[in-house]
């Protein structure tokens, strides 16, 4: 029988002990003594969140296919466990072998959102691994970061030995092969890191020096080691239909956030919304073949026993074989008690038809993400959704029986005026008016519209990376103004308005576009007790503000500053394919409220074509003639 790291007494004292025992369905069991490499994969949030993440499942499967490697997992101990582990000096352990993380060769941490940064420090500290990479020795695991936040790793760069920039499928085997070779030859940690630095996509922060100007912006960002390249190119898996997919993913005992099979149908997004980081960093858009997806869906449902399957992508409606795939899933699995969970589809006749087959119309709601309240501002952000399309889609749905609508907006978008904010209320109201044009005898009671606003954060590698982020106070002001405008609407009783909190978003802004000087404040906040910042009940703004102050981090410098075109950004050393020149052109077009066609309409020459595949090579794809577009609009 597997031994557990924790005593019965500990496990029976804490909440949800199943978070710490491993042993789940499809867990890989190997003899740690019989492998050359021990890799511990970490999602720095609580188990139920981390277990829902597809990326880790892909890498877990890929690593464990290697006979010489045992990949295990660790998640953030919940606060009750954290306390006990400190009191009793229990070292953090991996779920599979229940062995201390400290004994592993690698600790790979996925960075999915900025607010998990203090949780990374918790993982390191509880493992007994020095917080700063510079303090680690030959006996410590190599700490690797990856995932979306590694596209600006600078605020946490000092905590990592290296970052893997891009998709994990491509370069890990080389990293592991080399590690094995270096370990056998008795070579040092530094020698290995120098070798890592030469692998495309790898960033070893210690091998770069940053110099700052007097005004606080970056003067230079240069390698200090001859093995480190000036620019790090993101990794992309170009053939998504012939690569690793976890056909037997782990199935947790306790209910995770994604208690279902997740089918990733494509990577990237053709839309080019100017606020969206994912839309830029995952270019070029690449689809998985329908045959591949059908097989994978079948295998995953049989190996997990899940009763639900959902599609994953940034914009499912753009997947070229969506209809065929969805109908296949309904026909093949619907009769076997499998629920088909559809992601937000663009509302059209097809979407309404399949939605009525798989959901209860009375209970389900339609979702639109106009993001902005007026057409002008939607043009600024290049969101190709028109009011006509929203009202038309909503009307079709109302006629088919739907009565609930959810609308997502952002406040604080560049160039936003009061009129744009008021536009959110007006649009919400227009949808309600549309509903009430249906005769009373025919319609289904009252309509319910839920509009919510989030606080826009400018992200690296988007056209808005130069843009000023509004302050929390400005955001709250806009929110109040909108709330008032909502009340003025004819159908205000049918509209519910909800909003995100400002404080945590301000911090996200700092981490999103921060530099290495922010790391001291993150460590200080952690030492002051900040943990699980993504959880509103644990988030402590005052502690963060104090940590910022004491460590010389000026929030306004990072958030409330319009950056100059010449400014060197902390993330400029990363080459995502999409060029800075393209992003700047897009920023200028945004300010002129000029839309840019999506990747399937015409190529805007963003730079991602360099990767040699994906949507960039679709037949008959013309190039955007920017002059022409400018004239038209």
């Amino acid at each position: 029988m597997r031994k557990l790291a924790l005593s019965d007494e500990v496990l029976l004292t804490i909440e949800k002990p199943a978070r710490y025992i491993g042993g789940e369905v499809n867990m890989k069991l190997k003899d740690p003594q019989a492998v050359d490499i021990r890799f511990c994969m970490c999602f720095p949030d609580v188990y139920e969140i981390g277990m829902s993440h597809l990326g880790i499942q892909i890498l877990y499967d890929m690593f464990n296919r290697r006979e010489d490697t045992y990949c295990e997992r660790v998640y953030s101990p919940w606060v009750d466990m954290d306390k006990l582990m400190r009191e009793r000096n229990i070292p953090l352990f991996a779920l599979e072998s229940q062995d201390p993380v400290k004994d592993f060769d690698f600790l790979g941490i996925t960075l999915q959102y900025e607010m998990c940064y203090t949780n990374i420090l918790q993982i390191l500290e509880l493992s007994g691994i020095p917080i700063y990479a510079k303090d680690r020795t030959e006996e410590h695991p190599l700490v690797i970061g990856g995932g979306p936040c590694s596209y600006n790793p600078e605020p946490i760069a000092d905590f990592f030995d290296f970052f893997y920039i891009g998709e994990g499928e491509t370069a890990y085997n080389e990293l592991l092969d080399t590690y094995k070779e270096y370990k056998k030859a008795g070579r040092s940690r530094r020698e290995y890191l120098e070798r890592v630095a030469q692998v495309e996509g790898m960033y070893v922060p210690a091998f770069y020096d940053v110099k700052y100007k007097e005004d606080g912006t970056i003067e230079s960002f240069l390698p200090n080691n001859e093995h480190a390249p000036k620019s790090v190119k993101k990794q992309v898996e170009m053939n998504l239909s012939e690569t690793y997919y976890p056909t037997a993913p782990l199935v947790p005992f306790i209910k995770s956030t994604q208690d279902r099979v997740v089918l990733e149908i494509q990577r990237g997004c053709i839309r080019g919304c100017r606020f969206c980081q994912a839309g830029m960093i995952y270019r070029p858009t690449r689809e998985r073949s329908i045959e591949y997806l059908k097989k994978v869906a079948y295998d995953m449902l049989s190996s997990t026993g899940h009763e639900e399957i959902s599609l994953s992508s940034l914009s499912s409606s753009d997947y070229s074989c969506l209809q065929e795939l969805v109908l296949f899933l309904i026909d093949e699995f619907g009769s076997k008690g499998v629920n088909i969970s559809l992601p937000s589809l663009r509302i059209d006749a097809f979407a309404l038809d399949v939605m009525s087959k798989v959901q209860d119309i009375r209970k389900s709601s339609l979702t639109f993400a106009p993001e902005a309240g007026t057409q002008r501002l939607r043009d600024v952000i290049n969101k190709g959704l028109t009011e006509e399309a929203i009202l038309g889609g909503a009307m079709k749905a109302f006629q088919s029986g739907w009565t609930k609508v959810k609308l997502y907006f952002m406040l604080g978008l560049p160039t936003e005026t009061q009129e744009d904010v008021e536009g959110i209320a007006i649009l919400s109201d227009r949808i309600a008016r549309e509903y009430y044009t249906i005769p009373k005898e025919v319609r289904n009671g009252k309509v319910s519209i839920t509009s919510s606003t989030s606080f826009f954060v400018p992200k690296p590698f988007t056209p808005f990376q130069w843009s000023r982020m509004i302050t929390g106070a400005e955001y709250v002001e806009k929110q109040r103004f909108l709330k008032g405008k909502m009340r003025e609407q004819l159908n205000n009783k049918s509209i519910k308005y909800s909003w995100h909190e400002a404080e945590v978003t301000e911090l996200e802004g700092v981490f999103a576009r921060g530099d290495r000087r922010v790391s001291g404040a993150i460590y200080a906040a952690y030492q002051a007790g900040c943990l699980y910042d993504a959880w509103s009940e644990h988030f402590n703004y005052d502690k963060w503000m104090k940590a910022f102050e004491e460590n010389g981090v000026n929030m306004a410098f990072y958030n409330c500053r319009e950056r100059s075109e010449e400014e060197i950004f902390p993330w400029d050393f990363i080459d995502i394919g999409v060029t800075k020149a393209f992003l700047l052109r897009e920023y200028k077009r945004a300010k002129a409220a000029k839309v840019t066609p999506n990747c399937k309409q015409a190529c805007a020459n963003c730079g991602a074509k360099d990767f040699g595949g994906g949507v960039c090579f679709d037949e008959n794809l013309s190039m955007v003639d920017f002059e022409e577009v400018t004239d038209e609009s």
């Binding site: 306790i254 209910k255 190996s303 009763e307 008690g337 629920n339």
Partner: protein, 277 residues
């Protein structure tokens, strides 16, 4: 058709709660391609019910799960198919088709049948219960004394109130060795089941109970179910109070051995896999 599945729950699985075990088995059955019956509607789910939910921390030799199937193989094949899909800590040890409820008869749920259960409670290594008790011999002596009392009154706490209850009548069997327990247990069974039971136990699966070096343990049969319910922990708590030593809830490992239904006419028991409904 209905069937009753009996399974062991042991090792690390004692930390997995009852509702999660339910979800777990739904996925097990899907992996094993069991032809379960589903509820109707937009989110169909398999029809199944547990006899007596097991608390977190307890292990078991015999948990019962009733399922509703559209078709099935022989019991042997069903056990094999399900066992091929469970992970360490669960093992299917029995499968018995049940009779369909007769027309106009109320559907009998496994839970409503339960009236009694057997437990083995052991002292975990590394824990003590006062200076006097150093071995199974001294434990047996003390426990016998304790059980001799006319009544064993405890403070039973419910959400709303606390009340004094005499739990002695709810303890229907006490034994200290496996042999003694088996002999006494047979006595509690209905006449016609005694031979069947002996036969069943011949091919019994290896016990899944944890074994401790200190060897201090007690077997008990306790009232269980909706009419009267006594948890083994409460008996040990009363025992510690009797001894005048502090009760440590983590010191004891309770292991459920069997779950029964009582024949109201004879007052005798039948294990849930010895009945057809």
């Amino acid at each position: 058709m209905k069937a009753r599945i009996k399974f062991q729950k042991y090792g690390a699985m004692k930390f997995v709660g009852h509702l999660d075990v339910m979800r777990y088995f739904q996925k097990v059955f899907r992996r094993a391609n069991i032809d379960s019956e589903y509820t109707k509607g937009f989110s169909p789910h398999q029809i199944m019910s547990f006899a007596a939910p097991l608390g977190v921390g307890l292990t078991s030799e015999g948990e019962y799960l009733d399922v509703q199937l559209l078709s099935a193989d022989t019991p042997e094949v069903m056990v094999e198919r399900i066992n091929a899909m469970v992970t360490e800590g669960f093992r299917i040890v029995g499968y018995r088709p049940l009779l369909e409820a007769e027309e106009h008869m109320k559907h009998v749920t496994a839970m409503s049948l339960v009236s009694s259960a057997d437990y083995l409670v052991s002292l975990k290594d590394g824990y003590t219960i006062g200076a006097e008790i150093t071995s199974q011999d001294s434990f047996v002596k003390a426990f016998c004394e304790f059980f001799k009392s006319q009544e064993i009154v405890i403070n039973k706490k419910t959400k709303k109130s606390e009340k004094e209850v005499d739990i002695k009548p709810m303890i229907t069997l006490v034994a200290y060795t496996e042999e003694e327990y088996e002999a006494k247990r047979i006595d509690t069974l209905e006449e016609h089941l005694k031979t069947e039971d002996a036969l069943l136990n011949k091919g019994r699966h290896p016990s899944s109970a944890e074994v401790y070096e200190n060897e201090i343990k007690v077997y008990m049969q306790l009232d269980t179910g909706s009419a009267a319910n006594l948890k083994p922990e409460l008996v040990l708590e009363a025992f510690c109070e009797y001894l005048g030593v502090g009760y440590n809830e983590y010191a004891w490992q309770a292991h459920r051995l069997e779950v029964y239904t009582r024949n109201v006419e004879t007052g005798k028991l039948a294990a849930l896999d010895q009945v057809d409904r």
